[in-house]
Amino acid sequence: MVRSRAERMADWAVYAAMLVLALAFLLPVLWLASLSVRTQAEVFMGAARFIPEAPTLDNFARVLRDGGFQSYIWNTVKLASLGAAGAVALAAPAAYALSRMAFRGKGALMLGILSVQMVSGLVVLIPLYRFMDRLGLLESHFGTTLLYIAAGIPVTIWLLKVSFDAVPRSLDDAAAIDGLSRVESFALITLPLALPGLISAFILNLILNWSQFLIPFIMLSADDKWPISVAIFRFAGSTSAATTQLLAAACLLAILPALAIFVLLQRYILAALTAGAVKE
């Protein structure tokens, strides 16, 4: 297609805007990267030495060898993946019901579920803390995982509903004629066919959970239970500039897995987010 001059100008404007946006997000990360390869002495030079004279990977080596760091990463992996698996497992039946059954108030319910997503965690922080305290679930990974799951369920229901909607209804009919119950038809026909959607919903939850801070911050006070997000925050608040370069290295290492997952699997994630947008 031949594009007009005006259209090309508009394209450039969009690129320029995107560049500015990308820089806004990228600058802190670059700053982090710069800090993480400095020696302690160079940390004091601040922005004047954006590219250090003697870059070193020592900081990364020290962080990786640190037993505490390993434990934080392991906690993060555990909480994030259990939370993601739980959210997908619990959202799937709800999404199936919303996809396949007609009932009064369905539209309102769907919006209600979505609006839960809009409530900031901060708003419910104190009641949530007292609630979990009453249940005796504070200070445990179990209780924390439950909250991760709860936080992930609304958006997961929406994602999975879209995936289930894309599985033709006529297959439900064929399964019913073949003598399958609703549950069997869900488990044997719909779920396997929606597998790409399930996987991308899991990955999306994983990424969101990886950066989850508020929930573990209020739930867990013991150092050995912290995920990396809480650990970094606690150290940043408590340590002097003497360890800034180590903290920067830890931060970068913490971002890396989420980034890697996203880059490797972005095709699936995008497919899930746009599924149903194009119907056969």
Partner: protein, 369 residues
């Protein structure tokens, strides 16, 4: 082992009635074709019989037993869907055998059953493939295999051939009929294609806007349509409908009078001086070589090779005539037509119903073959 009876079945989706007072009895092993324009409720009818849709009211009986409350699986019906509805993630063999999951058969027996069906349908080499690696015709066969293997009491087909090309459709038509004679099973076959209805059915059910217009053998439906809808819907080109006034001994057309056969005046006594619709199939109009009959002007000719269809008009009335292949006519030619009134069906223009007494017993409603 497979009589199906629908007793005043109604079905509404919200305020819209989709099935309106459907009464139909299908004999064991009978092949019934339900035909009607798209949107008239054929699929809904089939889905009600299958149990995929619940009737709003009315009774559904299998062999005299009410099945309204049974799930599709419990009804022992099999269905072939328009888009085949094969499970895309399962192999052809698994697709065919899926309905046997609950059957009290060993793995080996199931395997043997699948192979027997595959042989019957000539799809043995495809058993390991996935549905998306099959052509339309092959998918069609797999869908039929999945239906046959369970040895159901009733087969339901929902426009199974509409996604196939013309040649394959013709071939599958006769294959499905052949299968029915090999494995006689009660069959309800839904289509919008009147040729499928005419060629496949023991009995045809013509539907329109959620109601049954007529039930009868293909020849009854074709020769003695009960309503103008049936007359127009069945047959290609459709039946000519000529508005005429009956004056006691002839039908008065705009430009001519057509004397009626000797036995009509007695039967048509109440219609003297009133308007009628004269229904005549295109094959019952013929070209005269000499003047007389009904004058008409040629609009278009369609030579098909084996015959030539001539479209004409007389006054405001459009007509179609089936003529020999060597007919040579051009637009604007004036011709004269003979009407075979002995093969005509007369309709009341107000009720659109055929007049009950012409020719011999056109009423076939509600009869079981």
């Amino acid at each position: 082992m497979g009589q199906v009876e629908l007793q005043s079945i109604h079905k509404s989706f919200g305020p819209t009635a989709v099935l309106d007072d459907i009464n139909l009895t299908i004999a064991d092993k009978e092949f019934v074709v339900v035909v009607g324009p798209s949107g008239c409720g054929k699929s809904t009818l089939l889905r009600v019989v299958a149990g995929l849709e619940e009737a709003s009211s009315g009774a559904l009986l299998f062999d005299g037993r009410a099945v309204n409350a049974l799930s599709p699986g419990e009804r022992n019906v099999a269905m072939v869907f328009q888009n085949y509805a094969l499970y895309p993630h399962l192999s052809v063999a698994t697709n065919i055998g899926f309905g046997l999951r609950r059957a009290a058969m060993s793995r080996r027996e199931k395997r043997a059953a699948i192979e027997r069906i595959a042989r019957l349908l000539e799809i043995e080499p495809l058993l390991k493939r996935r549905p998306n690696a099959l052509s339309g015709g092959q998918r069609q066969r797999v869908a039929m295999g999945r239906a046959i293997i369970r040895n159901p009491a009733v087969f339901l087909f929902d426009e199974p051939l509409s996604n196939l090309d013309a040649r394959l459709r013709m071939q599958m038509r006769s294959e499905i009929r052949g299968l029915h004679s090999k494995l006689p099973t009660t069959t309800i076959y839904v289509t919008h294609d009147q040729i499928e209805a005419m060629t496949m059915a023991d009995r045809v059910v013509v539907m329109n806007a959620g109601r049954i217009e007529q039930i009868g053998t293909p020849s009854q439906i074709y020769d003695t349509p009960r309503t103008t809808f049936v007359a127009r819907f069945m047959g290609m080109p459709s039946m000519n409908m000529i508005a005429a006034r009956y004056d006691g001994d002839a039908l008065v057309l705009p430009d001519t009078r057509v004397p009626v056969p000797a036995d009509w005046p007695e039967r048509l006594a109440p219609w003297v001086g009133r308007e009628l619709l004269l229904g005549l199939r295109p094959e019952h109009l013929s070209l005269r070589t000499s003047p007389g009959g009904v004058p008409a002007t040629v609009d278009l000719t369609e030579p098909t090779g084996s015959e030539t269809l001539v479209y004409l008009h007389h006054g405001d009335t459009r007509l179609a005539a089936r003529t020999p292949p060597d007919t040579r006519l051009r637009r604007g030619d004036q011709v004269h037509l003979d009407l075979r009134l002995d093969r005509a069906t007369l309709f009341d223009p107000d009720t659109t119903l055929a007049l009950p007494t012409l020719p011999a017993d056109p009423i076939t409603k509600g009869e079981t073959a």
